[in-house]
Each structure stands twice: as structure tokens, then as C-alpha cells.
Amino acid sequence: MSYKIPTFRHPNLPKNDLGYTTKDYEGAVSTLCAGCGHDSISNAIIEACFEMSIPPHRVAKLSGIGCSSKTPTYFLGNSHGFNSVHGRMPSVATGANMANRELLYIGVSGDGDTASIGMGQFVHAVRRNVNMVYICENNGVYGLTKGQDSATTDIGSKSKKGEPNALEPIDLCSIALQLGATFVANSFSGDKDQLVPIIQAAIAHRGFAFINIISPCVTFNNAPGSTKAYDYIRQHMASTNTVDYVPPAEEITAEFDEGTDEKVTMHDGSIINLHKLETKHDIHSRTSALSLMQEYKAEDKVVTGILFMDENSQEIHETMNTTQRPLRDLGTEELCPGAANLEKINDLHR
């Protein structure tokens, strides 16, 4: 079941440039467990889209199967959503993107979806640089099937059942970097201040924007000994940067420190203002991002922030040289070569 949110809101809710309030970006009431990290992510998506004044109906939300994949019901109720099959969101999103290059595609997935059953599809969506935001709500556990270890569970991490995981985890950010992802960020569902602007930067990015978000599972993987628990992440999280998102044609009002800040102008004219906490890291260098992650891991720390971006990359439609118009809008006149050409083709086969 999904429940509708009561329609009453404070009459003076702030409005964005389109005249919408946050209410216009909400979805149905979540049916996830109270305290689930995923709900915080849904709220961060709502806030990011509201602040960026994205028309809700110009967003397509796509997901696979699992707790994370249920969440598109809980945000952007005026957007079309597609809860597809387990691990196959990337292909559905790729196809949807082929049909209409003008919409904003937000794919939501989990660690079961992305790191196990749909690993192949994830990998190839990255390679193709499909223009979309790909969020992996990573809790290191299979929630809907009640608590099995996932492929991102760290070695030694204990789930509710108390058994330490014995297998090597898959680090999705490293894999995305190695595959040539053009935007890679790591974040934590509990850190909204960092997460919202990262989502905004990912939306502004032209190409495949991957955000791995550690999102604790309060029911099955929040026990002491779990490396995806709230307490553990709070104690071990280390930001490489924090981010301000500045919309196109808006003045930068945030403080800017020449020594530690860096401005990145995005394709749509918006600006990502990075406050570097780790000054030696170059976010335009994959090598730098990969070694930073290795270093932090060795110190038992979880590095968050935007790890890498290439704001000038070519997304798949540019590579393919597809027409600027959405393919789905083309009609018989544009698509059908007609009877005269068919007769010529007949002739070539006589």
C-alpha cells in the first residue's frame, strides 16, 4: 500500500521560481521503517529539485526492486515513475533517455540492485555516459528479504544476526571511477547539508552522475559492529569537500577562499562551489580520487563529497549525434521513407 500525504500545508510555505512549494515535490507517505536512511534521501531529492525549480513533471524517476527502489513513490508525485525489475533500472533508464533527451532522469537503486543482480547494467550505463542521476542507496544489506549480507557489506561487518561478513566488498565509487564515470560522489543519508548540494550538482551535470549514499538500515544493519550503521558512519566519515550549488545567472554569495575553494562551471551555466577540506585532492583527476579513497580506507575512514567530475564530457546523445528533438515526438512524416523510396528498394532487389 502507499498512503497519500494530507494536503494541508502552512499557507506561507516558501515558493520557488516556478511558484511551487515543497509540497509540489512530495510523493506518497513512505512505508519504509521509521528512521530508514532512504527517507532522508527522498527528502534531499525533494529539496534539491525544489531549490533548483525543476518542473516536477519534467523528471522521470526510475528504479529496480528493493527497499531503495520503492522510494520513488515517496518523492516527486507529479513525475512519472517506473519501478522496473530487479537490477535492470539502468537499461530502462537508458531506453527512456533514448526516447526523450529533454527530461531529467533520476535512477534510484540499492546495493543489491547495483552491486549484485544489476552490476552488469550499472557498469554499462556508466560506460555509455547516459545523461542521468544514478543514486545508490547503499545500506550493505538486503532489507526486503530480511537481512542477508549484500555485496557492499564490509569484511567483518556484523548485521543484526551477528555473523561477521567474510567476503570482500564491492566499492561502487571506485568501480564507477575506473569505468570512466563523469561524476562520482559519496555521501551519507544523515548529512543533509552535504547531500542536497551534491544532488543538485549531479542534476546539473551533463552525463552520468553517480552518487553512492550510505543509508543505514535501521532494522537489519544498524547494530554495533556494522560499518553501515549510523554511529559508525558518523564516527568515521571524513568529507573531502562540501559543496554549494549556485544556479545559472545567480550571484555567488557564499564565502570564497582562494586557497581552499574551487569553482566549477557546469554545462547549464550553474556553478559548483567546492569548499575543499582535503586540499591535495584534485576533483578533475581520477587517480587523485582513487588514491584518496584508498588512503582514507586504510585509516578506517569513509570519505564523502564529490570525488570526481568531468563537466565537459560528451553524454550518449552527443556521441551518437541524435537529433535535438525528442525521438518520441517524431511523426510519420519524419520517420517513414514513403512509397517512392520503397519502389527504388524493390528495384535494387530485382
Binding site: 516536477p56 512519472h80 535492470r88 537499461s91 530502462v92 537508458t94 531506453g95 533514448m98 547494467q121 555509455r128
Partner: protein
């Protein structure tokens, strides 16, 4: 050997080595026959291999226009020492074996009841060409020249074809013609040239064309308005996409900017391929994939989603021999059941069964209209025989007044004027088909959540059993509606009342019709026939079976899959449907069908009174 001259009615088979360039030489031969106005049906019989293994090209020449495989070889062109022993045994009594006599034939292989004609082709090539690759390629053209002389064909036709073939590469014309003439001259000097089999000009081809089914499907997708294609390479379907791509580059690319009105994605596997098709169709584009049995197996989960969430999808299944990897370069009609009922749960899918390139073209184009009209997957069930062999076909036709049927879609204006709440799965018109909306249409109306889980009319998740059944019943109603719209069977009745019928579909058609013709002319047996064109079955299919006491179901698989489908969908006594099965991977022959039907009628109808019904 004293012989009768046989004109325009024989079967020739070329035995070659894979990867030696023989395919284009063989094609040159068959096109020359075709251009002389004589109907042909060539069949590639090739291994799952790139280079080195035996491959054959069998051409049936028949001026009466029988295009199925006949069975039996009259003239064998044995260019492959590896397969020579077997090739010699395959020649019918009184036939010919043409070979390269540079090396003598093993005397153990010799037969007295056929003629051997040796021509030292390799020796000649060694004399004429330095480059080993040229020696190999021109030897192929040379044996075509040999055939031209032996069958007493018009050299001008060959020369014209070579000119056509190398348009833009004129430098290649002269050497090819030289090789052709060399072969011709070598054969013409032989005392028994021309041989007893001849090819004479006729006017029996009319305006027909020669094309393979995969090209026809690819072209059909272009004409049908497909803009998104996602696929994973698999024999024998790959050339569907190659041809779609080729025709899109020709007709859908802006001459100045190079911008494309199409998108082709080579997916990482078949799961992704169908996922992309479903994503694109959900978002309002016409999208399709092409695959074969193993790919269809992988697509099952997604096909169930498309069925249940009601998303259009077009799939071209070029069937090959299964199960598993089976015989990947041999034909079969063995995906009938796995396509019709693909996926878990109660599912069924619209299937179309083309038997000619023209039907490949028309059904592929039609598949997009059907998929969008019924918001469901549609599969075009071709096979390797149809897809990868040149087939003589009626020319393709298109009505320029035709507009695509995009099905029931609410646009922005519809939604703006709508006062009631939009319900994605509401059966407003009573035909079971609901209205959909594309993402991004209207700021506040028409959005819904597509899901593979059960839902109510408003696309809201529900596990309510009644709602679930209502929804499943509505989809079933849609299916009934579809049965009135899909192509009707082609029924051919004899002029006298007849209690036995024959059902065929897809590539079993040509051989079945020829068998029926000969059952009549040779044995006096006349039977009604029906070519099934689509699933769901329209009422006419059931009526035809009811009208006959026994009905043969001719198909190219072991388990009589179409028969099973018929029994499953109707209440017939299974006894009345007699399986007639051929599944060794080669196309079914008219002879095979004729013998089985003849023997069945002779053996199973022991009472003279009963037997009399068939004559």
C-alpha cells in the same frame, strides 16, 4: 548415359569452405537465374564458424515457382575436399558432380550412376594470378562461369550483374568478368557441355524481388517508425539490426548536420536490450529488439513486466535450432511456445508468423501499431531459413496516406480538459485497453507510477485480490480484442468437400503448398489448408479445425509446439490434430510433407469407405 534434357527444374548445391568468399559468387549465380526470369530459392547451410569448415549453398531452380526446399541434389559443385565424399553420395541418381580436377578424386568415391565433370580451376588460377587471395576469390567466380556454360546460360546477364555489383569500384569489373569468361571457356570446350540440366530464359518472375527476411524486417522497422533499437548480437538475427541501421543512415540522417532521427544501442546482453526497448516505449518512442531463442529466454522477466505494466515492445525473433545453444546456424520453429507464453505468471503475447520477406516487412511495421494499440509486447516470429536466405517475394508496398496508430495516449490538451482523475488502468472504452500518458506531458495531471506489482485502476499498489482479478480480467479482455485485429489466417480450400486439412505457419508454407499440389496431381488427394498468421488466434482458426475431421499441423520442431498451442487455446480433441514434424535443422521439404501425408492417408485410413473421403 542417355539423358533427357531438364530445363529450369532442378536443384544445384555448391559445397564450399567457410570464409573463402564463395558466398558472393554463389549469390551471383542465383541472381543470374533470377534475372533470366526463372524462380529460385537459395538456402545457405553454414556452420557456426568463421573460417575453414564446410558450408553449402543449395539453390532450387523451379520455373513453376515452387520455392520450398525440394530435397535431393541434381548437380553438386564440389569445391571442398573435406566434404567431398559425403557430397558425392548426396547427388541423385543421374545427376552431376562438378569438381576442381587439379587434384584427382579418390577413386573410392566414384559412382557409376552420376556424371563427373572435372575442371582444373586451381591450376588455372595458379597460372593467372600471383596473389594467393586473388587465386581463391577468382576461383569462385571462375566456377560460376563454368556453371554458366554447363547450363547454357546468358553470359550477358552475369556481366550486367558484375557491373551492378561493383558500381563505384569499376576497377574490379574487368578482372571479375575475365575470371567468369575463363571458367566459361574452360567448360565450353568439354564434349558434354552443355549438360542435361539447362537454364532458359522465362518470364516467370514478374516484378518479384529477391531479399532475405532480416533485411525485410529491418526495413519494416524503419517504415514502421521505430526510432529506438536496442540489441545484443546473436545469430541469426544480427542482420535485422544491420539492415535497420543501414536504412536509417540512408533515410533518417540529416544530410547537412549528420543528426540522426534514430538511436541504436548495442546492449550488454539481451536483458538490457529488452529493458531499453521497454524504457523507450514507456517514454513514448517506438522501440524494438531483434534476437533468437537464447535471447528470448533471457528476456522473459522483462516481457512479463511489459505484459503486466502494459508497455508496448516489439521483438523480432529469428528462430534457430534449440534447445540451449543447439545448432545456432540451423533453422527451426521452436520458440513458438516460449514466445507465446513468455515469462512467469499468467502471460500471453501477440505473435506474428511471417512466411515471406513481404510479410516480414509488413508484419514488422504492423507490430509497432499493434504494440502501441494494445500496450503489450508483440513478437515477429521469423526463423533462420527466412531471415538469412534470399527469398523470392512479391514486391513491398506502402500507402503514403497511412499514419502510425500510436494507440490510446492522452496528450497535454486532453489532460488539461480532463475534470475527473486520470486513471492509467481505467477501461474507459470497454475494450480492455486503458489510456496512457507519456512522462513530461502535463505539469499537474497524468503522472502515474509504472510498476510490475499489482495495482488498481489508478496505478496505486494494491494486494487486494479483487482488484488483482479485475485487472487480470481486463488484460484478458484486451487479448480478446486483439484476436479480432491481428492478421487472419490464409485459408485455401479445394473445390470439393474435404474432411482433412493442413495447417502451416511461417517458413513451412512454401513446402506445404507444393506438397499439397503434388498430392493432388500425383496421388489425387486434395486437402484444404490454412496458414496461421498470428496469435491470439482469430475465430477463423478454430472454425477451420472444426470443419475438418483431421488436421495436420506442419511445423519445424520436435514437440509440435503450434499444435500444443492450439490444443491449449481451444477445446479440440488432440486426436484430430496430427503432428507433421521436421526438425533436423534444415528447412522442411515438400517431398517430406507429401510422403508423410500420403502414407498417413494410406495407412491410417484402412477402411475403403473412409479412405474414399480423401480422394
Amino acid at each position: 548415359m542417355k539423358r533427357d534434357i531438364i530445363i529450369n527444374k532442378f536443384v544445384i548445391k555448391f559445397a564450399n569452405v567457410n570464409g573463402t568468399g564463395s558466398a558472393s559468387a554463389n549469390k551471383l549465380f542465383s541472381r543470374a537465374v533470377f534475372r533470366m526470369g526463372v524462380p529460385i530459392s537459395p538456402k545457405n547451410i553454414f556452420p557456426s564458424n568463421i573460417q575453414g569448415l564446410p558450408t553449402w549453398y543449395e539453390v532450387r531452380i523451379n520455373e513453376n515457382g515452387f520455392l520450398g526446399r525440394r530435397g535431393g541434389i541434381d548437380v553438386m559443385v564440389g569445391m571442398n575436399p573435406q566434404s567431398m565424399e559425403r557430397d558425392i553420395t548426396e547427388v541423385e541418381k543421374g545427376g552431376y558432380f562438378i569438381y576442381d580436377s587439379t587434384r584427382p578424386i579418390n577413386p573410392d568415391f566414384k559412382r557409376d550412376d552420376i556424371d563427373f565433370i572435372g575442371i582444373p580451376l586451381t591450376e588455372k588460377c595458379r597460372e593467372m594470378y600471383e596473389d594467393p587471395r586473388q587465386r581463391q576469390l577468382f576461383r569462385n567466380v571462375m566456377y560460376v562461369g563454368v556453371m554458366a556454360a554447363l547450363f547454357d546460360m546468358e553470359m550477358e546477364v552475369f556481366k550486367q550483374l558484375i557491373n551492378d555489383q561493383f558500381k563505384g569500384k569499376e576497377k574490379l569489373v574487368a578482372p571479375n568478368i575475365q575470371a567468369l569468361e575463363t571458367g566459361y571457356d574452360m567448360a565450353a570446350k568439354l564434349p558434354n557441355c552443355p549438360i542435361a540440366y539447362r537454364i532458359e530464359r522465362r518470364d516467370n518472375v514478374g516484378n518479384k524481388i529477391l531479399m532475405d527476411g532480416n533485411e525485410a524486417c529491418g526495413l519494416g522497422a524503419v517504415y514502421g517508425g521505430a526510432t529506438v533499437s536496442a540489441w545484443y548480437p546473436i545469430t541469426p538475427s544480427t542482420s535485422v539490426i544491420d539492415n535497420y541501421s543501414r536504412y536509417c543512415r540512408m533515410f533518417r540522417t540529416d544530410k547537412e548536420t549528420g543528426e540522426k532521427n534514430f538511436a541504436i544501442v548495442q546492449a550488454e546482453d539481451e536483458l538490457a536490450a529488452i529493458g531499453m526497448v521497454i524504457g523507450a516505449s514507456w517514454n513514448g518512442a517506438r522501440a524494438f529488439t531483434a534476437t533468437s531463442g537464447p535471447g528470448l529466454s533471457l528476456m522473459n522477466e522483462f516481457l512479463g513486466l511489459a505484459y503486466f505494466a502494459e508497455i508496448p515492445a516489439v521483438l523480432i525473433d529469428v528462430q534457430r535450432s534449440g534447445p540451449s545453444t543447439g545448432m545456432p546456424t540451423r533453422t527451426q520453429q521452436s520458440d513458438v511456445l516460449s514466445a507465446a507464453y513468455a515469462s512467469h505468471g499468467d502471460t500471453k503475447h501477440i505473435c506474428l508468423y511471417p512466411s515471406t520477406p513481404k510479410e516480414c516487412f509488413e508484419y514488422t511495421a504492423m507490430a509497432f501499431d499493434l504494440a502501441e494499440r494494445f500496450q503489450t509486447p508483440v513478437m515477429v516470429m521469423s526463423d533462420l531459413d527466412l531471415g538469412m536466405n534470399d527469398n523470392m517475394s512479391e514486391p513491398f508496398e506502402w500507402d503514403d496516406a497511412k499514419r502510425y496508430d500510436r494507440g490510446k495516449v492522452f496528450n497535454e490538451e486532453d489532460l488539461e480538459n480532463m475534470n475527473e482523475k486520470f486513471g492509467r488502468y481505467l477501461d474507459i472504452d470497454g475494450d480492455g485497453i486503458p489510456y496512457r500518458t507519456y512522462p513530461g506531458t502535463h505539469p499537474t495531471k497524468g503522472a502515474f507510477f509504472t510498476r510490475g506489482t499489482s495495482k488498481d485502476e489508478y496505478a496505486i499498489y494494491t494486494e487486494n485480490g479483487e482488484k488483482y482479478i479485475e485487472n487480470m480480467e481486463r488484460i484478458q479482455k484486451k487479448w480478446k480484442t486483439a484476436s479480432t485485429v491481428v492478421p487472419k489466417p490464409v485459408i485455401r480450400k479445394t473445390d470439393k468437400p474435404c474432411t482433412v486439412g493442413v495447417i502451416h505457419y511461417g517458413t513451412s508454407e512454401a513446402s506445404t503448398l507444393e506438397a499439397l499440389h503434388h498430392l493432388n496431381s500425383l496421388h489425387g488427394i486434395s486437402l484444404d489448408s490454412m496458414g496461421i498468421q498470428a496469435f491470439p488466434f482469430s475465430d477463423e482458426v478454430g472454425q477451420f479445425i472444426e470443419e475438418h475431421e483431421y488436421v495436420f499441423v506442419v511445423e519445424q520442431n520436435r514437440d509440435a509446439q503450434m499444435r500444443t498451442l492450439l490444443i491449449n487455446e481451444y477445446d479440440f480433441d488432440p486426436e484430430c490434430l496430427v503432428p507433421l514434424l521436421h526438425y533436423d535443422g534444415s528447412p522442411i521439404t515438400a517431398r517430406f510433407i507429401r510422403h508423410i501425408i500420403r502414407d498417413w492417408i494410406l495407412q491410417t485410413t484402412t477402411s475403403p469407405r473412409r479412405r474414399s473421403r480423401f480422394y
